[in-house]
């Protein structure tokens, strides 16, 4: 089986600080990490490769330094990595990103499944996975909490929705987006770390993917951000102390409001 995992390098949103005057992020000194959700997608692909045989290729689109997330994936057990980097890709929204990654999947050829994380923690859109599927005209299963079975022809997935679980059989090739429920990502092995040390990614730019300037990057993005602002910082309110009974009375007043007043 030939699997592709699409991953993203993101700023650790928990470390992000805000410039409240400009309404922008202060990214200096903020560590760049592998998008946490992508680790579950990677683990799922590795797990099925280990069971069925084949290979796992990680693909990322970003600046040259995004190479580090590929190296991390290789240390966890990925077979190879492709870095999609080009000035022409800069400013891509989810349309252009999924379009570009789909072209890479096409160029790899013979791919049985693409695994993506549920969403990235910076944009939180969850749009790239379905966008890749649409570009390739492959079926998709999003919000996968468990992959039950897989063969050359199809896989059976549990898709977690608001009021239950859809058990779906999807023909391959397909794109799936994976939830945290699916697995526990492995830690890099010693062998993986050794392999990662010598790892050099394949690098593809716009011309390698036959992409014209109108279909990627800023020009190929139908959406654009016009303003950013910071939500008003939440100020703490009153802090109550007292006996449990006293606190319970205050809390009940606040929770139940007027309707239940004694």
């Amino acid at each position: 089986m030939k699997f592709v995992v699409a991953v993203k390098q993101v700023p650790d949103t928990a470390e992000v600080r805000i410039d409240h005057e400009k309404g922008t992020l202060i990214r200096d000194g903020v560590p760049s990490i592998l998008n946490p959700f992508d680790a579950y997608a990677l683990e799922e692909a590795l797990k099925w490769r280990d069971t069925l045989g084949g290979s796992v290729t990680v693909v990322t689109m970003g600046p040259p330094q995004a190479e580090s997330v590929l190296t991390e994936a290789v240390s966890m057990g990925a077979d190879d990595g492709i870095l999609l980097t080009d000035r022409a890709f800069a400013g891509s929204d989810t349309w252009a990103t999924s379009h570009t990654i789909a072209e890479a999947v096409r160029k790899i050829t013979g791919v049985n499944a693409v695994f993506c994380g549920k969403q990235a923690i910076d944009g939180d859109t969850a749009q790239t996975g379905p966008g890749i599927a649409a570009s390739l005209d492959w079926p998709q299963v999003t919000f996968v909490g468990r992959v039950r079975e897989m063969t050359e022809e199809n896989m059976v997935c549990e898709r977690y929705v608001e009021n239950g679980v859809q058990v779906l059989r999807v023909e391959l090739p397909a794109v799936i987006t994976v939830l945290k429920d699916a697995n526990t990502p492995r830690v890099p092995s010693l062998r993986g770390k050794m392999k990662a040390r010598n790892f050099k990614p394949v690098i593809w730019g716009a011309s390698d993917l036959n992409l014209a300037s109108e279909e990627t990057g800023l020009e190929g993005s139908p959406t654009k951000v016009v303003t950013t602002a910071t939500p008003e910082a939440r100020a703490g309110g009153s802090v109550h102390r007292g006996t449990p009974q006293e606190l319970a009375v205050i809390m009940a007043d606040l929770l139940l409001g007027r309707e239940d007043h004694r």
């Binding site: 992020l25 349309w95 058990v167 190929g220 139940l256």
Partner: protein, 397 residues
């Protein structure tokens, strides 16, 4: 789609294999190279026929200049147990507000059995219901619904399309936006139409809620958004409101897909999904163990809410992941969020900081949650929560 076909002359060997693949005879040979005429409808058949990969189909965003041909607002209705979901009613309320008295609001209803759904959609703000009916639409499946929405968009050409940011909307809309070569903004919490440009200004949280970004889709139509459930206001149902019902024809081909639903396993219990809950009682590391969760469930039940958790509690195996609130869990926005034994690390905060009111119970007066909670309570949760449960019961008896 919009785009252009490129024939890479250096690669073309003049074999003419592409000529017979073209259904509209747009390809011909000139000087032993393939050339494409105006007749090309960008179907892409020739791309696969070329043995030397000399033909490339480029998508071009914004090639369609007739933006003003797109009119009105379409709301993609979502059904839950055969009736329009609450989130759909909120979208209709918002669409009415955006319509400003002159744009037409259409609800797209795809179902196996309409029942009185059209009526409910009219009562809640739709001027028109565009309805696709087929047995295959009894459950949401990506591909049939994609075909229905694409056909509806080609048929109606709406200026704006709204769907709820549910697992359905977030599955369907990005697929359709890619196919339609237009922009989509995810999980919007505020929408407005700019007076000058007439563009839909779509505001959404990003970077874990640290930033609010306002996004426009200015070169393509429709402008598509998924909208976070529980944020927009539904209108008071007006039972005298009526509208126009139109059938959207569907055929068997549209209902085909490569995904089969083998089984649906409903989640047990009466608790509503966290992202839709108005009240959430959430437990963290301070809960000490799974044996202490029943009191949170009891409190949630008394208040008509749901139970959530911090990552620490989920990682410890005390409660399942669907309950997790925070950076790698759910983002919630209830009216009241009650954090019990949760310290308030930023990973948790980003998932709940948009709640209307935050209550915090924690033994540690230095816990960071007290810096942003609306109401803090310092003390032992194992005493306070049972006391609160008795107090609520006492007042209600």
């Amino acid at each position: 789609m919009t785009g252009r076909l490129e024939i890479i002359e250096e690669k073309c060997v003049g074999c003419a294999a592409c000529l017979s693949s073209c259904p509209v005879d747009a390809l011909s040979m000139a000087d032993r190279k393939a050339v494409v005429s105006q007749e090309c409808n960008l179907c892409g058949m020739c791309v696969n026929s070329c043995p030397v990969d000399a033909i490339v189909l480029h998508h071009v965003i914004g090639g369609d200049k007739s933006l003003s041909d797109y009119q009105g607002i379409m709301v993609v209705a979502e059904l839950r147990d055969g009736s329009p979901d609450r989130s759909t009613m909120e979208l209709l309320g918002e669409a009415r507000r955006l319509a400003g008295g002159f744009r037409r609001v259409t609800a797209l209803l795809a179902c196996a059995e309409p029942g009185d759904s059209p009526k409910q959609l009219f009562h809640s703000g739709a001027d028109r219901v565009l309805m696709a009916v087929h047995p295959a639409l009894s459950q949401y499946l990506t591909e049939p619904m994609t075909s229905v929405l694409v056909r509806a968009l080609e048929h109606d050409r709406p200026e704006i399309v709204l769907a709820a940011a549910t697992t359905q909307g977030r599955d369907l809309m990005p697929r359709v936006a890619k196919i339609m070569d237009t922009g989509l903004t995810a999980d919007c919490t505020e929408l407005r139409i700019d007076n000058e440009t007439g563009l839909l200004m779509q505001t959404r949280p990003a970077f874990g809620g640290n930033i609010m970004a306002t996004i426009v889709c200015d070169r393509t139509r429709p402008q598509m958004s998924t909208v976070r459930p529980g944020v927009m206001k539904r209108m008071e149902p007006d039972h005298t409101r009526n509208g126009e019902l139109e059938l959207l024809p569907v055929d068997e081909g549209m209902m085909k897909g490569r995904t089969t639903l083998l089984e649906f396993i409903p989640t047990g219990g009466s608790e509503v999904d966290l992202t839709e809950a108005e009240i959430i009682v959430s437990g963290g590391r301070g809960m000490k163990g799974p044996e202490n969760y029943p009191m949170l469930h009891q409190l949630a039940e008394l208040l008509g809410g749901s139970v959530g958790a911090s990552r620490a509690a989920v990682d410890a195996g005390w409660i399942l992941y669907p309950a997790q609130v925070g950076q790698t869990g759910k983002t919630v926005q209830p009216k009241k969020y009650i954090a019990v034994g949760i310290s308030g690390a930023v990973q948790h905060r980003v998932g709940m900081q948009s709640s209307d009111e935050i209550f915090a119970v924690n033994r540690d007066p230095e816990a960071s949650i007290f810096q942003f909670a609306s109401h803090g309570f310092v003390g032992d949760l194992f005493e306070i929560i049972p006391a609160l449960i008795s107090e609520i019961k006492r007042r209600r008896s």
